[in-house]
Assembly symmetry: C2
């Protein structure tokens, strides 16, 4: 049971968490905190949060659980503001989609209290933002990855694990670097590819015409290019090493297709496309 939950950043991820915990009946009071007062008032109206504070220090006051659901780029500044207000029984977690940079910031900000911080990442969300995007079922059967360190308090980890389980999520543990590598491949790289495709096409001469003929495949393929630019800027900066490596590797893969096309090597193309199709068809059941 969470007596008093402080959610710093009341967007889709934070709001969905609050709604899910309320629906499960495992949370007492939820206090929201953010810079957009209109969004916070909307949060109260929608029953997502019970009260709000504009100051982080005020928001975490008396909370036993603090969830930091802000873009990666402001994580450190939020941690620093929390750090002066941490009490003994307070557990802090985050939802950032890259973990090494968050862990570095937590160590620097929380110092001796860093063991009370549990790095987390729910694999869920969409191209929506704001409190109105929150849905109680968002985490049902979705994975949440926790990446605690050896120095993380086991009781804190257990509390955060229980919080996510109450939302219907499945919990996995990965080490920080492993998390960042896997996510760079499955999420960060595809976003870069989608953003780049839309930009590339929009820079071509026949821009309007090209978008006119874009069919369903293209629409699906570029859906993630509607994602929040601020969030993705921060992901790129936070997970740059893994991401840069994968972009280069991907270009090499693309060169294999180019080479086969250039050589009019039908056998090789069939092999490449056939392999991708089998992998993808196998995968459909899993994601």
């Amino acid at each position: 049971m969470i007596e008093r939950l402080a959610i710093i950043g009341v967007g889709m991820i934070g709001s969905s968490l609050a709604l899910a915990l309320k629906q499960a009946g495992v949370v007492g009071h939820v206090v929201g905190c953010g810079r957009n007062q209109h969004n916070l008032e909307k949060g109260i109206e929608l029953g997502v949060i019970d009260s709000y504070q504009l100051s982080i220090v005020d928001a975490v006051d008396g909370a036993d659980t603090v969830v930091v659901a802000v873009p990666l780029g402001v994580m450190k500044s939020v941690f620093e503001q929390i750090s002066g207000a941490i009490t003994d029984d307070m557990v802090i977690t985050d939802v950032g989609s890259a973990k090494a940079s968050v862990v570095r910031a937590a160590k620097a900000s929380f110092g001796a209290r860093a063991g009370q911080f549990v790095p987390g990442h729910p694999i869920a969300g969409a191209e929506k933002s704001g409190v109105e995007a929150g849905i109680a079922s968002l985490y049902q059967n979705r994975r949440v990855i926790l990446t605690p360190l050896d120095s993380t308090d086991p009781a804190a980890v257990a509390k955060i694990e229980q919080m996510w389980r109450s939302c219907g999520a499945k919990i996995d543990y990965l080490d920080v670097e492993h998390h960042d590598r896997v996510l760079a491949a499955t999420s960060h790289l595809p976003h870069m590819l989608a953003y780049s495709l839309v930009n590339y096409l929009s820079n071509l001469n026949e821009h309007d015409e090209i978008f006119n003929y874009a069919a369903g495949g293209f629409r699906d393929f570029t859906r993630i290019a509607s994602s929040d630019p601020v969030m993705w800027r921060d992901v790129c900066i936070s997970n740059s090493d893994a991401l840069l490596k994968f972009i280069e590797g991907y270009k090499d893969e693309l060169d294999q297709v180019s080479a086969a096309i250039r050589n009019q090597d039908g056998e090789r193309l069939l092999q490449l496309f056939g392999k991708a199709k089998s992998e993808r068809d196998l995968l459909i059941g899993n994601c």
Copy 2:
């Protein structure tokens, strides 16, 4: 009105056309032709075709309209078989997703009768194949691009335009090279990107783990990697010049993202992602 329609290649595209024309009541007898007798028998069972022939010459005999709906790689051989059986009042069209190679094949095969051939391309379809994938509504409000030459018989063009209009499609006219360039950008390039992403990830060490954490964005992004490898091999071979050029251009676009990440240039990343998001959000209404 089409008295006798021959469909060479009874897959999703050909079957959907037959069903739509029947539903509109604008076709008499539909004869199907293909190499897979089981598929053709299924076509009769489902009411997609009224009869079938295994020989192309027999199938086109007496037909006033012939639709060639086979992969681009066998287009030429089908045209050659049709060529000996063309009559004065026969109109022939195709549905290939690259047009320059088809036009070359038609000129070579049909010779003096090439004016009876109308190159066409319905912008529709999915990752399904076979007669069972046919749906009467597939072309409703979808675009069909026709790319007739100056030497194409205007009456033949009018007949094919009318055929597609009867299926609910909107008709556009483009010249052959323009078509191939626009489709390379909006369809052929995205398919190469999706195939390559799946292959790249499946070659990484943590293959199983990576696919485990693939979320909704990834699933949408790679849907087109489940497309038919034979069809896409043929598209690559047929439209190689435009496609190679776009793959190279795309890699340059990706390099801009890499450079911004490498320089930790948040402003530039925000600009790139913001532009893509605006373009994509604008686009949603169009496709």
